[in-house]
Symmetry: C2
Subunit: 491 residues, 2 copies
Amino acid sequence: MSALTDLYAAAKEVALLNSMESALGWDQETYMPSKAIETRASQLSWLSTQAHKMATGARTGKLIDAAEKERPRGVKDAANLREMRRQYERASCLPSKLVAEESIAASRGKAAWADARKHSDFATFAPHLEKLLTIARKKADLWGWKEEPYDALLENYERGAKTSEVAVVFDRLKPELVKTAKAAVEASVGCPKSLLRGKYPIEKQQQLNREIAGSIGFDFDAGRIDTTTHPFCTELGPGDVRLTTRYDERDFLSSLFGVLHETGHGLYEQGLPHEDFGLPSGRAVSLGIHESQSRLWENHVGRSRPFWEKWLPRAAEIFPNLRKVSLDDFMSVVNCAEFSFIRVEADEATYDLHILLRFELERRMLNGELAVKDIPAAWNDSFRALFGRTPPDDARGCLQDIHWSMGGLGYFATYTLGNLNAAQLFAAAKKQRKIANGIAKAEYEPLLTWLRAHIHERGGVLLPQQLITDATGFPTDPKWHLRHLRERFLK
Amino acid sequence: MSALTDLYAAAKEVALLNSMESALGWDQETYMPSKAIETRASQLSWLSTQAHKMATGARTGKLIDAAEKERPRGVKDAANLREMRRQYERASCLPSKLVAEESIAASRGKAAWADARKHSDFATFAPHLEKLLTIARKKADLWGWKEEPYDALLENYERGAKTSEVAVVFDRLKPELVKTAKAAVEASVGCPKSLLRGKYPIEKQQQLNREIAGSIGFDFDAGRIDTTTHPFCTELGPGDVRLTTRYDERDFLSSLFGVLHETGHGLYEQGLPHEDFGLPSGRAVSLGIHESQSRLWENHVGRSRPFWEKWLPRAAEIFPNLRKVSLDDFMSVVNCAEFSFIRVEADEATYDLHILLRFELERRMLNGELAVKDIPAAWNDSFRALFGRTPPDDARGCLQDIHWSMGGLGYFATYTLGNLNAAQLFAAAKKQRKIANGIAKAEYEPLLTWLRAHIHERGGVLLPQQLITDATGFPTDPKWHLRHLRERFLK
């Protein structure tokens, strides 16, 4: 037995603990009764503490040392060893006590956030956020950073990315985006939304969503769709990808695009090399790549005309009130741009404005330039500057997202990276005639095959920017996304 | 800090691991997609191995030794220490490898059983049962037994019970029961079952079941009801009791009595002293007591006339086809006795015949007198002797129950002990005027209060036979159950 083999076995055991955390976390969001919260917090804390202990234990360190000294190996093993060394160093910086503290703070924070959001009461959530922010700063300091603490957190989600480099990309995006978004909103005035007014029973929405998710390749023997307040996709281990969505009886498109989005995430997870479960080579490489998969299927596929040429007739079978709606009218509703208070309800044209706002606020929070108590006001000021309107309450302002309540600071930037990557990947894939022909007929197997080969099956062997460059010829660049938005909204 | 305090903390950690196993086990039965089975089996095996290691580790042994030497303590601490010593000795007999092997065999066994049952194909399940039986025998030998191996397994479920003593009680029950069951079936000929024919939409069944479970005291903020093939109740920790049931669109009573049954289990779990979670004093004392709670609510409450005086009008609001059914007719249907092939569908009058059959078969399997391959024939022979009919296939014969597929050998006897205890407890409680008056008006708070005080809140401090004697004045005796059956079916 080589040290590398032993190291892999140890990593797989840690992954098994993480997968249990995912399973219990999924249950907490979907089905767990409210009085179970304290026990669940203890369970999750135990698992994360244990996983942390194992991942950072002396044995792991020695195995990595020994594996590094073994004879040269292939690209995949080299990448795994590189990433495991790095994870080990990062994880070893954090004392177990802090990890346990964070897990409990996140469990409580999520519960407090759900309540605060319901009553639009930022004050009841503030102490939890204060606690989580303190922990996040402590972690950033322990991991170390050169330019700003945000770097150390962003690295969690987007391996190899620097905040200042992301800011450069975002700064190139911002002026064009503000113009495009404004023009798109103006061009959408009078879009015939009222044509879709009606009652869409939840079971029928579920039926249609299931058909669509299955038709683009989601394997329901290896996954499922449930209902939550805040939709997400989580992998509970190989063969077990759980998507969630939420339903609005008056608007079937809200759950449908939610499901398409999460299905994009799910296809990535289902396409990872399962034999490498627990190793970097068997894992999604970054959130900015993950989000490219969800946005590609949600927006580039799901809001395209060929997609609805196929699916509108089927939707009209299920929802008879759609029978009177023409494809042209339907497409203007599907691609109607409006300024919205809520990020997850935002259309493509305005979505990234929401992210730019959060990215800036988070940087200031972490730099100590913005206190927790001042967040609601800062949020509303920034929102006014970008959208020209003020959120009517914090539920539709700074309380709308779950991320901070889970300690997920440094995460939001990856949404816009995802949008940019999605446009870039879709443009690259379409250069192949077979894929372009498929897309024109709403047949997506060639596209999925391309994504499997260029993204999913490659796991975390390359760094995100290497992967996107390998697949498309360029590192992440806003030009394809801006081009796509102009074509979709301004033609 | 005393050794006892440390011992309690260690026990609570083991309980936390067990509660995660319950949570993942619940998910496996309710929502898990099929391709997740291997990962789930690894997760469950890891948890049970880890819990076993902790429970049997040298540290636990030393803490028990030290705690036993500490100054005298109260009844509860003494009982906890007594039970923990005993659990430790029993758990220490089992090598970790065998525990892991059993967990994997049980995960696979359950999946194979579900499939075998679907296709009524005993042969595909037989190798799994063979494996599980071998493990069960190995465990019995490791634990040690004097009279027969069944003793060592029964002790898992019914603390302090001896197989030969249970057999004495069952032998007193059997001749009377065979007579009573036969008479009850004859008396039920012509019961107007067809009056209830109709379609009962599942969502409406769920609504009624929920109302009823809530009205008898089930706390839905600390529990929930889901759907599975084989109904069960499991506690995922304090404040988290999960019931399951199955639905038949043509028969709302099947899910309703299933829910009443599981609610009885759930009320017991919800009524345990949560501050003692993880300690014997915070745990249900035995399955024979657990089953007394489910059967009490299902049969003594749920099949009584006062119960339906209250609930039939409500049921008729929800299911209009019941409006034409009189209470008299309804009661004859609810208490109609018939010979059935399926234990879980059996009525009260014939139910225990199913248990006597399984008890006898299991004893023979464990004594090595009955080979796995001969089980279908032996089952059918016994069934014919007791019921005068032959099961049409193994799905309705020896494949009907999940227990063996999970390695649950030695378990069945507790069902009949539960029936006997239920009748005995109900008779004792009714001696209090307030309780009897409540029952007559279908108001069960006084009854639940009595059960909380005499059973639920007492946890596992007393042995089951001490507990039942304390509550009713007598150890378990078949006479109340037989009296109840005669009154219900032969009057």
